[in-house]
Amino acid sequence: MPDVSHPDRTRDDPSGAGGGFGVAAGLHHRENETGRGDLSSGAAPGSVLVDDVWESFKVYHERAQGLRDRLFARRKNVTEEFWALRGVSLRLDPGDTVGLIGENGSGKSTLLKCIAGILRPSRGTVQTYGRTASMLELGAGFHPDLTGRENVYLNSSILGFSRRYTDQVFDEMVEFAGQQVAEAIDRPVRTYSSGMYLRLGFAVSVHLQPDILIIDEVLAVGDAKFVKKCYDRIHELKRRGVTIVVVSHDLETVATLCDRAIYLERGKVVADGPSVEVVDRYRADVTAEQGGAVGRWEGGAVYGSGDMTLRDIRLLTGGERDSIRTGDRIAVKFRAHVNAEVDNPVFGLIVRANDGTYLYDTNTLWRHQETGRYAPGDEVEVTFELRANLLPGRYTVTVAASRHDGKVVYDWHSDALGFDVAGEFVANGLVELDGSISVMPIAGT
C-alpha cells in the first residue's frame, strides 16, 4: 500500500494500537446496547458478538401504508409477524472472513443488517467492537446532479469517513475507478455510463479501512476485470486482518473468499465451520430438496443462422435415480429440425462449471464423424453420452449445430441446461480424478 492510505490516527482510533491503519475520523458509532461495545471490556477491535438475536418483521398482506389501511386494517389483523431470525448466537474474532449462506428468506441478509446496525434486533444483542462499515452497491447515495468528485466526498462521509481521510485516498480511488472516470471526475455523474457509475461507487467502497467490513452481494455485477480488481482489494483487506462478513448467492465466492461459513435456515444457524465444508453441505441439501435439480435452466444466449433449430434439449440420468452423483453416466439429447439444405452438419456440446469455467467441449467435427445430408423438414435426434466425472456443484451444458466446417453456426444454445452433481465431500474442485490416498507405516523406522 502506498503511504497515502495511512491516515493519521485520531485519539480514539481503536485500531491505532496494533493495526497500522485506521480511519482519520470515525465511522459512525452506534448506541451501546446493540452497537459499539466498550473496548475496555477486553474484546479486540474487529470482534462481533451476536447473542440470541431474534428479529421480526411485520408482513402486511396488502402493504398498508396509508391512514385508512392503518386505522381499519389493523383491526382485521392482516398484519402477521414473520421471524427472520430465531435465536442466532455467534462470535466473530478479528480477522475472520465469514460468509453467510442460505436460501432466500433464511435470514442471512437480516443477520448481516443487524451486524451492520441497519436493523435493530427485536430481542437479543449485537455488539461490534471497532469501526463497522458497509460496502455500498452501485454508488447508492450518489446524486446525479453532483460531479464525480462531489459525490465521492459525500459518499465517503455517509460511510463515516472524514474529509481529511478522503483527501488522502482520493487519487487512489479515482485511479482504481479507471481512466474513463478520472477524465470525467468533475462532470455530473448523470453523464456517466452505468459502468463508470458503478466503478466509482465501488472505488469509494473498497477504499474503506474499517475493522469490520460488511459486504452484501455487491460484487454480483460489473465487468470481469473490474470485479477481479475489487476481489484483489478485498483480499488485501483480509490480509490486513479486517473482519469481513459477506452475504452472497455465489457459493464459489463464499468458498474462496471466506475461511468460515455460516449456513442459515429459517432464521437459525444449522452449520458453522470451514467454508468449504459448510458450502458443500448446503449444496447437498439444496440438491436433495430439488430431487436432483435436473431440468431446464433459464439458459443463456441463443443465436444462429436458423438453417437448423434445436429443440427438446433434455438431460437424461442413468437408471431410476433422479439425481446425478459423481461418476454417473448421463446423456444430453435434443432434436434438430432442418430448415434448409444441410450437408454433414456439426453437432457439439460444451460443459461448463457454474462460474463459466470451460470444462469439456466435443463435437462431431473433431471426432471425424459423418452426420449425413438433410433437406428442409427433416428431423434429427442427437444424443451425447457422458460420464459425469464431476465433483459436487452446479454445471451447465451448451449445445450447438453448425456447418460442416464449423464456421457458420446454425443454432447455438448457451447454457441450455443446468444440473447439480451431488456426492460425498472427499475432494474440492471441479473434476473427479479418482484420487485415493494411502498412508503406510514404513517398517523398521
Binding site: 391512514l67 441497519i118 458497509s134 446532479d145 455517509i158 463515516g160
Partner: protein
C-alpha cells in the same frame, strides 16, 4: 454511544448533506441561487399589490412588514415540507448503510437556514437604505441580539417538527399529502400578512396559541417595529421551541430503529 454524541460525530456528514441540498436545488436552473432572493421578492410584490391597500394607514412600509414575517415562515414551511419526505426519499441509503438518521431531516433545515440568512441579509440592507433616506425608525442593528435569538428559537422549533414529521411520515405516508394544506392553514393562522392587534381579542388569544406567532413577532420586533418583546412572549417562544425539539427528537429516536424495515 449516546445519540447526541453520535450526531456530533456525524457533523461532517451533516455539513456535506447540507451542501448537497443547496447545490442540487438550483443546479439546473439558469438563475440558480438568485431564486433564493427572487422568490420572496416576488411573493412580496404579489402580497403588497393585494393587501397593502387593505391595511392602508395601519402599516407603514408594507413590503418590509410582509418580508419580516414571510421570510421566517417560508423557512419554517420549506424545511418541514422537504424534511417530511427526507427519510422515505433516501430509502436506498437507509436500507444499505448505517449512519445517524437524524442528519437527513436536519440537513434540510440547515440548508433552508442558509436561504433564510441570505434573505435576511438582503432585508437588512434594504432597511439600512430606508433608514438613511427616509425613516429613522429602522435602526435594526440595536436589536441584532434579539434577531439572533429569534433565528435560534425558530431553527430549534423547526428542527423538532422536521424530525417529527420525517419519522411519522415513514410509517404513515398520508402525512406528506397533508402537509400542503396544513401549512396553508398554518400560514393564515400566523400574522404574516395581517397585523395581530387589528384582530378581535378572542381571535388574538387563539392565534397566540400558535408558536409560530411568537417567532414571527420576534422577527418583527427586531426588524420592523424595533421594540422588545415581553418576557412572557419570549418565555412562550423558548418553551415551545424546546418542547417541539424534545418531542421531535424523542419520536425520531424511537421510530428510527425501524426505518430500515419501513422504507
Amino acid at each position: 454511544m449516546h445519540p447526541v454524541r453520535e450526531l456530533l460525530d456525524a457533523r461532517e456528514l451533516l455539513r456535506n448533506l447540507t451542501i448537497r441540498e443547496l447545490k442540487v436545488r438550483y443546479k439546473r436552473s439558469a438563475l440558480g441561487f438568485l431564486w433564493t432572493l427572487l422568490n420572496p421578492l416576488l411573493m412580496m410584490a404579489v402580497f403588497t399589490a393585494v393587501f397593502s391597500t387593505f391595511f392602508k394607514g395601519m402599516l407603514s412600509w408594507f413590503p418590509i412588514y410582509f418580508l419580516t414575517g414571510y421570510l421566517p415562515f417560508a423557512f419554517f414551511q420549506a424545511s418541514a415540507t422537504v424534511a417530511t419526505g427526507s427519510i422515505v426519499g433516501n430509502g436506498n441509503l437507509i436500507r444499505k448503510v448505517y449512519f445517524p438518521r437524524s442528519v437527513l431531516p436536519l440537513s434540510v433545515v440547515l440548508a433552508q437556514l442558509v436561504h433564510l440568512l441570505l434573505g435576511l441579509g438582503v432585508l437588512v440592507v434594504a432597511e439600512t437604505i430606508i433608514y438613511i433616506g427616509w425613516d429613522r425608525s429602522f435602526d435594526w442593528w440595536w436589536y441584532l441580539p434579539l434577531l439572533v435569538v429569534a433565528i435560534a428559537l425558530l431553527t430549534i422549533f423547526t428542527a423538532g417538527l422536521a424530525m417529527l414529521l420525517a419519522a411519522a411520515n415513514t410509517f404513515l405516508r398520508d402525512i406528506q399529502e397533508f402537509t400542503t394544506v396544513a401549512f396553508l392553514m398554518w400560514f393564515y393562522a400566523t400574522p404574516v400578512i395581517y397585523p395581530l392587534d387589528q384582530l378581535p381579542g378572542w381571535v388574538q388569544t387563539l392565534i397566540k396559541l400558535n408558536p409560530m406567532t411568537h417567532f414571527v413577532e420576534f422577527f418583527r420586533d427586531s426588524l420592523y417595529s424595533t421594540s422588545l418583546p415581553t418576557w412572557s412572549t419570549l418565555m412562550a417562544g423558548v418553551g415551545s421551541a424546546l418542547g417541539m425539539f424534545v418531542l421531535g427528537w424523542l419520536t425520531f429516536s424511537r421510530l428510527s430503529r425501524d426505518f430500515a424495515k419501513e422504507v
